[in-house]
């Protein structure tokens, strides 16, 4: 049961972390589709 709860907690941590990392790494939709003369955020 402890392993299951830890895994579910890890899922949340990984999801939140992935979102933060990808957004800060320039992988948001806004970053990918903007150009030199087009700012989307």
């Amino acid at each position: 049961m402890k392993a299951m709860m830890l895994a579910f907690l890890a899922t949340i941590v990984i999801a939140v972390g992935a979102n933060a990392i990808l957004n800060q790494s320039g992988f948001s939709s806004e970053d990918r589709y903007q150009g030199e003369a087009v700012r989307l955020n």
Binding site: M4, A7, T11, I14, V16, Y33, G35
Partner: protein
């Protein structure tokens, strides 16, 4: 009089030499015959039906002198509107844009209609029936067979089936897959089932939340997939005991039938390889969708399949090997969803047999400790191996946790 006669003769001569004026009455009334390479109404209708229509690239070859002369009268000079729209339609127009990404210069992408048709039609229909059919079959199996009991009764002593780290990986995979499955189904079916019941606002919020969860929980799934592969691949290599197990149907259909098996029986091995191969394929297409247009993989895959003659084997034309950026995403989405449906059906069966369907099975992933009699009935060879190892260990050895 002579002057008038000369005027009549001149008029007749002019009529005779001007092709436009010299056409017969019937020809004048007939609509302009299309140039041999022009798009016809039948071409347009055939394309709308999703059929392949052979097309001559008039823009690339240069239009006929007649079209050029006609074009001179238009606002675009020598380039006609029809050529411009044809260029946009078939991706041959020279587009410049300030927006980023490889898809920004594709303004018309007719392959999208095929995708929409598939997504709103067979994907939802057959995918939905597959899941409902699986649940129905399991319900029928439960009604006929009931819960598979421990035939010899509980021994009262337990044996460690899975270590904590193995159970952690299992639940990381299971929890993330269930979340991904539910959010994927909301994305696919929300508009047809949730929206009519709960309204557009609720469906929009659910879709937005589902997208966030689906995109970000996917990393937990991929990590767990690697973990379970590393932990269990060695135990899932097929061997001869699997044949006996399969021939007896795993003992699932009759009481007191317990074909020998090692740590994983043939049924579990099939689940393992389904999860690894289908989950791997879902992960690859998922990554392609997560980073749109950055990881196109279908044109290259189709090229390889064509080289091996696979489409011909199943009575199909060769697959397209030149795909617009959007088409790559559309194929990725379809494949991602099709494989996910298959894996969901398999996992529903796995969840059933690991919980409601078999007494004592859940403990393997719950506490990690299973009843010894259960272990002997379902994994007799594994129990023998474990017991032999325990007996051969030095007396002062610390038992592994």
């Amino acid at each position: 009089m002579l002057t008038r006669l000369m005027a009549v003769v001149t008029l007749i001569a002019l009529l005779g030499t001007n092709p436009a004026l010299a056409q017969s009455e019937g020809a004048v009334d007939a609509p302009d015959a299309p140039a041999s390479d022009a798009t016809t109404l039948e071409d347009i209708l055939a394309r709308q039906r999703g059929e392949d229509v052979e097309r001559t690239n008039r823009a690339a070859e240069g239009s006929s002198a007649e079209e050029q002369a006609r074009g001179m009268l238009g606002t675009l000079g020598g380039a006609s509107d029809s050529l411009l729209w044809e260029g946009l339609r078939f991706g041959t127009a020279d587009i410049t844009t300030q927006a980023g990404g490889p898809a920004a210069t594709v303004l018309v992408q007719d392959g999208g209609m095929l995708w929409v048709g598939w997504r709103e039609g067979p994907l939802r229909t057959y995918g939905g029936y597959l899941l409902l059919g699986t649940i129905g079959l399991l319900a029928l199996f439960y009604l006929i067979r009931g819960r598979i009991r421990i035939d010899g009764g509980k021994a009262g002593t337990t044996i460690e089936r899975f270590k904590p780290v193995e159970r952690f990986a299992h639940w990381l995979l299971a929890g993330s897959f269930i979340l991904l499955g539910i959010t994927g189904l909301i994305t696919l079916f929300g508009r047809v089932f949730i929206q009519p019941l709960l309204g557009k606002e609720v469906n929009a919020w659910l879709a937005l939340g589902s997208k966030w969860i689906h995109n970000n929980v996917s990393w937990a799934f991929m990590l767990a997939l690697v973990m379970v592969f590393v932990f269990w691949v060695i135990h899932n290599i097929p061997n001869r005991t699997d044949i006996g197990w399969m021939l007896k149907g795993g003992g699932l259909f009759s009481k007191n039938s317990h074909p020998p098996a090692k740590k994983f029986n043939a049924g579990q091995k099939m689940i393992f390889w389904s999860v690894i191969l289908l989950g791997g394929s879902i992960s690859l297409t998922g990554l392609s969708l997560l980073f749109p247009f950055e990881m196109p993989m279908f044109a290259a895959t189709f090229e390889k399949l064509n080289a091996f003659g696979i489409p011909g084997l199943i009575g199909m034309e060769p697959f397209p090997t030149v795909l617009a950026p959007h088409e790559e995403m559309q194929y990725a989405q379809l494949w991602h969803a099709i494989v996910s449906f298959v894996l969901m059906a398999i996992i529903i069966a796995h969840i059933y047999i690991g919980s409601l369907g078999m007494e004592g099975a859940y403990d393997a992933m719950g506490s990690g400790q299973v009843d010894l009699q259960w272990a002997k009935e379902h994994h007799s060879l594994w129990v023998e191996e474990k017991q032999a190892k325990a007996q051969s260990a030095p007396a002062d050895a610390t038992p592994a946790e």
